[in-house]
């Protein structure tokens, strides 16, 4: 067993991980562990932009941005976090610019800004230009710029090191006369994909920045690698997951494929039409129409299709119409996404509307953290030395529905905070001793899979999981669909015990990797479904047809899902609640 010692270990090398690494690498001995290579992460797929109230092109301020974020998240947003994010957004953008990010520019040479869904002037009066962007590859440029700066600061990467376990110890502490168990973290166990060996990384601070869990769905904009590993590891180690019922479906995925066409398309003037050629968003959001937040647009689209106004042979998609825009304008602002339409669907966006349908996009929920990116083991107890940032975390700045561009902002603001706080903690703290036999559980997990002859195929189970999630835990949900999903997942979990990998080797055993990832997917699907079942109201990205109204009286709370084998009625997921933080905005009806 190889043991490496670092002050700070960062799990994941996407936007949040590398943003944290830049801060922590300059302050403490830092290692970044990633199951990919740094620039392969899904941050690179983000297109439209990153909002900040720079007011470069029109009047704007960070309070409006906070309001939009809170309202966009249907008031489930922790407002202290939203304030931090909107306020620090400005520096986050300027930091990136100073790191070299090639933002598009105004005629005066300042960072240009454009409109984006849900971002408005003066508390919802009209759309505002707030999104800073680099063509339609803002995420790509952020990822590249962060990696470039990691190179500049000599950050140590361990590429293709797959983190499989978090090493924790429990100790009794007494706070205010109450004795409870405090979780402490000692390090992580990783699987070196190249050699098939396990390594232990002992660290004072550990930052999870491992991204989302989009692959529980079939139609998703997410990368194959987004399998909820970080969330799964934390969950298995007793850390709760917050707000997992809220999953964002991005309105404009290429129909059937799920590949994303940026909201920037609508920001630049593209509109949605149904089979009758009608601009149906005028009915659903009369004020901001196609630029309504994603949950509303996605639901409207799904509703159009459900009511028989879908296009195509199966009437199962709607159209994104860019044909009234100047080709030159499209080329200048949206070059990549028009290429996607051409490459993957053979549609020429200059002259033909593009078939689109909502695609699973973003997990609003995740590992609960406070505004210092510290992970919580319950509603208010911090796990010392454990941090999370990015999609894996839930600060909660997105509440029940994230606004477009706020994810790139989230990773930059809270990635930076995680890096700074983790390094500062590491400089004052001591190592926690690695528990005895740290590899036992991981080895057992891998050995079972390698030696199993049960004959169940990873791909088959995963496909069935994705099918049921797509059908039953999508834009519209009911108790019935959710219960069915839960029982299907239980069945799949049973079959997963007999899963067989064909590759028995050590070197680059990606067959084994997929099997392990499937385990996390099953866990997360279960948590998401159980949490959705628990929330008997409709809010943001979570729409219960049996409870179509928002219910502030009973559900103005975050959900906290704990692993608890005794909670048999919800497949081993125990749900609790956590209060929402309010500072200045009281809940109102959410209309656009």
């Amino acid at each position: 067993m190889q043991v490496h010692k670092y002050d700070v270990v960062i799990v994941g090398a996407g936007g949040a991980g590398m943003r944290a690494a830049i801060e922590s690498g300059q302050r403490a001995k830092t290692a970044v562990l990633t199951k990919l290579y740094p620039t392969r992460s899904h941050t690179g797929a983000a297109q439209g932009g990153m909002c900040a109230a720079l007011a470069n092109v029109e009047e704007d301020n960070w309070e409006w941005h906070t309001f939009d974020t809170v309202k966009g998240g249907d008031y489930l947003v922790d407002q202290d976090a939203a304030e931090v994010m909107a306020k620090e957004a400005i520096d986050a953008v300027l930091d990136l610019e100073k790191m070299g990010l090639p933002f598009n520019r105004t005629p005066e040479g300042r960072i240009d800004q454009r409109r984006f869904g849900g971002h408005t002037r003066d508390h919802g009066k009209a759309p505002v230009r707030r999104s800073c962007y680099a063509a339609d590859r803002t995420g790509h440029m952020i990822l590249q710029t962060l990696y470039q700066n990691c190179v500049k600061h000599n950050v140590e990467f361990y590429n293709e090191y797959y983190v499989l376990d978090l090493l924790t110890v429990e100790e009794e502490i007494t706070v205010d006369g109450v004795t409870k168990l405090q979780t402490r973290v000692a390090g992580v166990v990783t699987y070196d994909l190249a050699t098939g060996e396990l390594h232990v990384f002992q660290a004072k601070s550990i930052i999870f920045a491992s991204g989302g869990v989009g692959k529980v769905y079939k139609t998703t904009s997410n990368a194959h690698t987004l399998t909820g590993d970080g969330m799964g590891i934390a969950f298995r180690r007793g850390i709760p997951l917050e707000d997992m019922e809220f999953f964002q479906f991005h309105p404009t995925g290429l129909a059937g494929l799920g590949i994303l066409l940026s909201e920037a398309a609508r920001g630049e003037g593209a509109i949605l039409r149904n089979s009758e050629g009608e601009r149906f968003m005028e009915r659903y959001a009369p004020t901001i129409k196609d630029l309504a937040p994603r949950d509303i647009v996605a639901r409207s689209m799904a509703n159009e299709v459900r009511e028989g106004r879908g296009c195509g042979p199966n009437k199962d998609y709607v159209l994104l119409d860019l044909t009234h825009l100047e080709p030159a304008h499209i080329d200048a602002k949206l070059p990549d996404i028009t290429e996607f339409a051409r490459t993957y669907l053979g549609v020429e966006p200059y002259t033909e509307p593009v078939p689109v349908f909502p695609t699973a996009h973003y997990a609003m929920g995740g590992i609960p953290t406070n505004i210092k990116a510290e992970v919580l083991q319950d509603n208010d107890t911090v796990v010392p030395g454990l941090y999370a940032a990015g999609e894996v975390a839930c600060v909660s700045v997105h509440g029940s529905n994230r606004l477009g561009t706020n994810s790139l902002l989230d990773i930059n603001v809270f990635g930076k905070r995680a890096g700074i706080y983790a390094a500062e903690y590491a400089l004052t703290a001591d190592f926690v001793d690695i528990p005895d036999n740290p590899l036992t559980e991981t080895e057992a997990l891998l050995d079972t899979m390698r030696s199993s002859e049960g004959g169940e195929r990873v791909a088959q189970i995963r496909k069935e999981l994705q099918d049921i999630m797509d059908a039953n835990v999508q834009v519209f949900r009911t108790e019935e669909t959710l219960l069915e999903a839960l029982s299907v997942i239980d069945g799949l979990e049973e079959r997963y015990k007999h899963v067989t990998v064909q590759d028995k080797g050590k070197r680059f055993n990606l067959d084994l990797l997929e099997a392990v990832e499937l385990g996390f997917l099953l866990d997360m699907a279960k948590v998401m479904t159980a949490a959705a079942l628990h929330r008997k109201e409709s809010r943001g990205g979570h729409f219960r047809e049996d409870f179509p109204e928002r219910d502030d009286e009973n559900y103005m709370t975050h959900s906290m899902a704990y692993k608890d084998p005794t909670a048999t009625e919800t497949s081993g997921v125990r749900l609790k609640t956590k209060p929402v933080v309010f500072t200045r905005y009281q809940p109102m009806e959410r209309k656009y």
């Binding site: 190889q2 361990y158 293709e160 070196d192 190249a194 390594h199 070197r507």
Partner: protein, 155 residues
């Protein structure tokens, strides 16, 4: 069954074959690159005219003999012409072959020997050629027998 030993950690470790062998100071490669282009343009002119006179003009290849050479080199313009052509072509060619050796010789020792042979032959050829052009005698007397040609002074 080969059991590969993969060093760990692998990240950041570059296989030795790919580690660059020191960096070169100075502008040699740049100058060589530039020389190829400049000499190339000049050579196109020099060689095309050379080919015209040797292969097309007059009787073509059939017209080439000692007398043809002698007649040409009697004119200093042609002497200079051929001299420049010799030098540029040899250097251009040598540099070309040098890059090819650099590209394809797998071992340092092979590379060294091939280049040594190349440079030696280049020197020999350039020196030889230069000497021939400058010491050329259109009416040589060999073993007391004078070469007879219309342009030779009558004995």
């Amino acid at each position: 069954m080969a059991n590969p030993v993969i060093e760990s950690p692998r990240s950041g470790r570059v296989a030795p074959e790919y580690t660059r062998r020191g960096s070169s100071k100075g502008n040699f490669e740049m100058l060589a690159w530039l020389f190829m282009r400049v000499s190339g343009i000049i050579l196109v002119v020099l060689i095309f005219v050379h080919l015209w006179t040797s292969l097309i003009d007059g009787e073509g290849i059939k017209g080439v003999d000692f007398g043809f050479v002698a007649g040409k080199w009697a004119d200093p313009v042609w002497q200079i012409w051929d001299l420049v052509m010799l030098w540029l072509a040899m250097l251009h060619g040598t540099n070309g072959v040098r890059t090819i050796i650099n590209d394809y010789a797998e071992k340092d020792s092979t590379r060294f020997w091939l280049k040594s042979v190349l440079y030696a032959s280049t020197v020999v050829i350039i020196v030889l050629g230069t000497l021939v052009i400058f010491t050329f005698d259109p009416c040589p007397v060999i073993d007391g027998v004078a070469h007879v040609a219309p342009y030779c002074p009558a004995l």
